[in-house]
Amino acid sequence: MRTVVCIKQVLQLGDEVEFTDDGLDVDPEYLDPALNEWDSFATEEALQLRERLGGEVVVVTCGPKQSEAALRRCLAMGADRAIRVEGAGRDPFSVARALAGVVRGESADLVLCGVQSSDAVQAATGTALAELLDLPRAAVITRLDYSGAGTAVVDRELEGGLIDRVEVETPAVLTIQTGINEPRYANLRAIKQAEQVEIDVRSAAGGGTPAYRIRKMFVPERGEGAEMIDGSPAEIAARIASIVKERLA
């Protein structure tokens, strides 16, 4: 049983933001790197599968040397091996192509991704990866029932709190929703041990059309029409109530 988890080191915005001189990106000074929240749930799910069924958990990411911190986070949680692919673009297609190159060589029983990344919020990489690998895929998984071969039964989260329970032939690509489990914390000893693990670094094959090109990144102009409500708490509450009634009417 081998599960490959595709993860991403996201870059989180703080309170302030400045852009690079070319206007195509956020100044890295204003970004904090972290393991994408969805991917920590995907990693935890893979670790729980391994605890039940045995086997191996392999984590893969596309990114520069700095992104190894996210891989080491997963290693500290308990992943067995980590692979980093260098030189791919940052758009979902380029990333999916680079990941597909690695995943093909791993003969995975399951490929887990997070539903989306918190910085780009495209929810596209997992789906593109399934297409490239020609594997079935199911998205927004909130429960996974798998015995190590054949079909997996998964719950997919739909709008309005509905759940869609489906069977998926494996191998398959599943994109994992937050809340499916409770990701474990790594203690300091595991973090230190993970620092010693050698990460398998590979180069992206290159080629292919990116999903998009960034033309400009900016903070949208502030809109007009906000109403500041002054007065006592009771007056403010009364005004809010009347606005709500007005809009609902």
Binding site: D32, N187, L188, R189, A190, I191
Partner: protein, 720 residues
């Protein structure tokens, strides 16, 4: 980040008599326990506020004569050249930081106990103090009045020599000039008593004389209480204060307007339990409306929007802070830089004030562990040196106030990795439920401030929902382990009055409970009546009684102490807390200790009854606020069962404990304990606090020779 333009008004300069204040932030006179006799502690404490952006900083009340000696409490003194020298250090350090220095000239009249000087104060009438025991003043005749006024003049000149820019003629808090203005203190029938004009005469003349003496060089500030809440006998806003403003406005350069007398000065230094910030604004605005001079005033200001609003609406000119400037001396700078979430907001608990009320010890602050430590321990609230052992990883177990503070300071000191591990689902420990007690909502700032700071520290990770065993801790992978597991309320009645448990006390029974169980676990006691037993003496017992009474229970608050919540006298919460309990119909039974409890009944005896007559109190339930005990099981297991050697083999080089886990204490002291360990984590033995600088006179050969000679000379030729 940049300042929000809506706060620009707070940074506009303002003219005060012959001086200019660079912005609108002013530290109003307040005590710190240093006076003139710990000049370095005094100067460093005040100068830090100037560094943090305060444009004007005052002394505490500064005695003008040995006749006004407030010992046991600690005031500043400007009696002689030595005091000038000592206070000039504060002035110099403020001036170096571009701030004005203010001196609050004080004469206590009947309130001054003169325990050190053994003098007798003079006052308007011979009625003993309503604040002190056994202190009477001489009823001043005309000569005494001239003498007193001259004391102000001479003290003002000394203040000018020391370098002060602003000189107060201080009346608030029922001190001498306002005693003359107030019928409660002034029963005179001569031209200094009776009519408004007569009652105002002493203060008016004194202001005139001080203005004449130093007014060209110093701004004259008058601090007046605009309502003493003493009914007709007290100072009244409309009857006394507004006419007084009109009478002397031309002599005054800035008004410092507040409320209350001294006996209930919690109406001025308002505990958050009873009042929100800005509570004195209506009175301050009333003075502002008729005065042509700038008006400053306190209000436990921490919210810059409210500060700006007070100025924009013409209610105040200058934002005066006392407690918020101690909780965060960098309040102005943080507003200026738009760093609002870095403001360490005062919680209005008044433990700072409690130290003054107790008499003597330096102030402490629940939010700011460095308050009072600026000089003696060299702690700066905003600056942290990288620890010499910063290449270590630290595990802090428990995220109550001590654990949070320790992890935060370790993070700021650049430790490689700090893991703050908590068994509950969020940070705070008991401070998660304490703010849910009646009136204590603002205390949540203790947790909120630290949570925000910890979140910003990239080397600190918070791990909730993880209860660690001793083995887990040993194998965690940290070189330094700090146990901060707090304390719990005793469940068996163990208490500091009898030093024994109480027969039948067992909080595991359905009809008995501890505050931890009620507030932390949601335990409910059945029935209509409850006895709350309190031998803690601070807020927990009375708060439990208040909460249960508000829920409709018939509450009996029983204590072996002579009064309930005696420490709340020091925090100025007592008077209004007594009013609350009385209004809620809580029956108070002092001097009683339960001898046994059984379902439906508490049996108690009067602690001074030598025959031990028992009295029964019917009650459906009992709440034990008896004493706290450290949660030390984890620490003991690590130290005793696993042992330091085995820990070393696992890579744990050091094991410490902090806060209530060591010994239960005030939250301020628990926070201090976490801060102290983190500040000294790279000392030779961090478990033992480093010595602090003590300002004391040192004996040397030269002084011994001189003192002996002076003594001998006194008796030269005297017969024995």
């Amino acid at each position: 980040m940049a300042r929000d333009p809506k706060h620009d008004i707070l940074f506009e300069p303002i003219q005060i008599g012959p001086k200019v204040m660079k912005n609108r932030f002013y530290q109003v006179p307040h005590c710190n326990g240093f006076g003139s006799e710990k000049p370095f502690s005094q100067a460093y404490f005040r100068a830090l506020k100037a560094e943090g952006g305060f444009a004007g900083v005052a002394t505490e009340y500064c005695s003008i004569s040995p006749e006004s000696d407030d010992t046991h409490r600690m005031s500043a003194r400007i009696w002689d050249d030595g005091d000038i020298k000592n206070l000039s250090l504060m002035c110099d350090m403020l001036h170096e930081r571009d701030a004005l220095a203010a001196c609050e000239l004080w004469y206590g009249g009947p309130h001054a106990p003169n325990m050190e000087s053994r003098c007798v104060a003079r006052g308007p009438s011979q009625i003993p103090s309503d604040f002190e025991f056994l202190t009477y003043a001489i009823e001043a005749d005309k000569d005494d009045i001239r003498y007193l006024q001259n004391l102000y003049v001479e003290a003002a000149k000394r203040a000018r020599t020391a370098g002060f820019d602003i000189v107060y003629v201080y009346g608030s808090h029922s001190y001498l000039p306002q005693q003359f203005l107030t019928p409660f203190y002034n029963h005179r029938t001569d031209e200094y008593g009776g009519s408004f004009e007569n009652r105002a005469r002493f203060w008016r003349e004194t202001i005139e004389m001080v203005k004449e003496a130093v007014g060209d060089d110093c701004a004259i500030c008058v601090r007046m209480s605009t309502d003493m809440f003493l009914g007709e006998a007290g100072t009244q806003l409309k009857r006394d204060c507004l006419p007084f403003v009109e009478l002397v406005d031309h002599l005054v350069d800035v008004w410092d307007i507040n409320l209350s007398g001294i006996a209930e000065w919690g109406e001025d230094a308002t505990p958050s339990r009873f009042y929100p910030q800005g509570r004195a604004l209506p009175w301050q605005a009333a003075v502002k409306a008729i005065s042509k001079k700038p008006v400053l005033g306190v209000g436990r200001w921490t919210n810059p929007d409210m500060m700006a609003e007070a100025i924009n609406e013409g209610k105040l000119d200058i934002i005066a802070t006392c407690r918020p400037s101690t909780s965060d001396p960098f309040l102005p700078k943080k507003i200026d830089e738009g760093r609002l979430d870095d403001i360490r907001e005062c919680i209005g608990c008044n433990v700072c004030i409690s130290r003054w009320e107790i008499g003597g010890p330096p102030l402490i602050c629940t939010q700011n562990a460095t308050a009072g430590e600026e000089y003696r321990r060299g702690w700066h609230p905003e600056r942290f040196t990288k620890a010499a052992n910063a290449d270590n990883d630290v595990l802090v177990v428990g995220s109550g106030p001590a654990g949070m503070e320790c992890a935060m300071v370790l993070g700021k000191r650049g430790m490689r990795r700090v893991h703050l591990v908590e068994a509950q689902d969020d940070m705070g420990g008991t401070m998660r439920w304490i703010p849910e007690l009646p009136g204590l909502g603002e205390w949540a700032r203790i947790v909120n401030y630290r949570k925000i700071q910890l979140d910003k520290l990239k080397n600190v990770e918070f791990i909730p929902n993880m209860k660690l065993s001793a083995k887990d801790v040993a194998e965690y992978g940290a070189e330094i382990v700090i146990v901060a597991t707090g304390s719990y309320w005793s469940t068996d009645g163990l208490n500091g009055a009898s030093h024994a448990t109480i027969d039948g006390a067992d909080a595991s029974l359905a009809w008995q409970a501890t505050p931890d169980q009620i507030m932390g676990e949601g335990k409910e006691l059945a029935g209509d009546s409850v006895v709350v037993f309190d031998n803690d003496g601070y807020y927990t017992g009375v708060s439990m009684a208040e909460k249960l009474a508000m829920e409709g229970k018939k509450v009996t608050l029983m204590t072996p102490l002579g009064t309930v919540g005696p420490y709340m006298h020091f925090t100025l919460e007592a008077p209004n807390q007594h009013r609350r309990l009385h209004k809620l119909g809580v029956e108070i039974v002092p001097y009683h200790l339960p001898s046994r409890v059984e379902e439906g009944m508490v049996v108690a005896t009067h602690i001074y009854d030598e025959d031990g007559h028992e009295k029964s109190f019917a009650a459906d339930g009992v709440v034990w606020v008896a004493q706290r005990r450290s949660n030390e099981a984890l620490f003991r297991e690590l130290k005793d069962s696993i042992g330091l050697e085995q820990l070393k083999a696992e890579g744990v080089d050091a094991l410490y404990r902090i806060g209530d886990c060591e010994a239960p204490r005030l939250t301020a002291d628990a926070v201090f304990s976490g801060h102290r360990l983190a500040r000294e984590i790279d000392s030779a033995d961090p478990s033992i606090p480093l010595p602090f600088k003590r300002e004391r006179r040192m004996v040397d050969a030269e002084s011994v020779t001189r003192e002996k000679a002076e003594y001998e000379a006194m008796y030269a030729g005297a017969s024995s």
